[in-house]
């Protein structure tokens, strides 16, 4: 598959995530959109990893492990995302406990 396809697909997903962050006001959904962005990155990394692998193969290195690092990076991203989710949801829940809402528009005690 041409790498450009993956790039565009990922970028599209990434931007959809951004649009979600911009347009929604439910904190949980915003957070989900961020996860979507991370997944777009993951996809891109995997695609690149395979691209580099292919490049190395074509260069004649049959036993190459080029591109492994990309996939491992994805693994770490997932790890971090998991940790982030636990903390993030805890914060959202705490917020909800206090003001019974997860609407970010209500987050305006702090301004100016």
């Amino acid at each position: 598959m041409p790498i450009n396809y993956y790039i565009f697909l990922s970028v599209a997903l990434f931007c959809i995530g951004i649009v979600g962050v911009l347009t929604r006001r439910n904190a949980i959904i915003i957070f989900m959109c961020i996860e979507l962005m991370l997944n777009a990155v993951n996809l891109l990394l995997v695609a690149f990893s395979k691209m580099h692998y292919k490049t190395a193969l074509l260069a004649g290195d049959a036993a190459t492990t080029a591109g492994t690092d990309g996939q491992l990076f994805v693994f770490f991203i997932m790890v971090v995302a998991a940790a982030e989710v636990s903390v993030g949801l805890a914060i959202i829940v705490m917020m909800y406990r206090n003001i019974h809402s997860v609407d970010v528009n209500f987050l305006n005690r702090l301004k100016h």
């Binding site: 450009n4 006001r25 996860e35 995997v46 492990t65 492994t68 995302a81």
Partner: protein, 166 residues
């Protein structure tokens, strides 16, 4: 058009469509479900790229664990209705336009990059297999791996700090 290509297009369309549905669904629960659909599509891509390990982890961790957690929280908060009132339309519009512009700009910037001729190897290569990744992870990447434990520890402590009732 080979089967791989068909699959690629199919998965791409699914991923994009469900991603769009995530951000447009009124009901948060639907959003979660659409997001899970997206993750599945992405996992499909991983499989297509012969990155089985990540595909599995993606489904288990993301779709399985994380999204369930989301769903759980949403349910806990009783947000499974269309609770969200209409957001300021101008802001929505502005958000969509800004995001669109960003997409446009990124695509325009990247479309002529020097690697546009290159291909991602589909359906082949063994680097995505658990054996290879594991070997690499526990040799070269052992330090980051250990470090991520600190991350988890802090996340754990954090969850305790935040969650514990006073």
């Amino acid at each position: 058009m080979s089967i791989t290509q068909i699959l690629f297009w199919f998965l791409s369309v699914v991923a994009l469509f469900s991603a769009l549905m995530v951000i447009t669904s009124k009901n948060p629960v639907y959003s979660v479900l659409w997001l899970i659909a997206t993750f599945f599509a992405i996992s499909g891509h991983y499989i297509l790229l012969n990155a089985q390990f990540l595909a599995i982890v993606n489904i288990i961790v993301y779709a399985g664990a994380i999204m369930v957690l989301f769903l759980f929280v949403i349910m806990l908060m009783n947000l499974n209705k269309e609770t969200e009132p209409q957001k300021n339309r101008w802001q929505k519009m502005a958000g969509a336009v800004a995001g669109g512009c960003l997409l446009l700009v990124l695509v325009a910037a990247l479309k002529d990059s020097d690697i546009k001729q290159q291909q991602a190897l589909v359906n082949g290569g063994s680097i995505g297999l658990i054996k290879n990744l594991g070997k690499e992870l526990f040799t070269t990447y052992v330090i980051p791996f250990e470090i991520s434990s600190v991350l988890f520890l802090s996340a754990m402590v954090g969850a305790v700090v935040i969650g514990k009732k006073e």
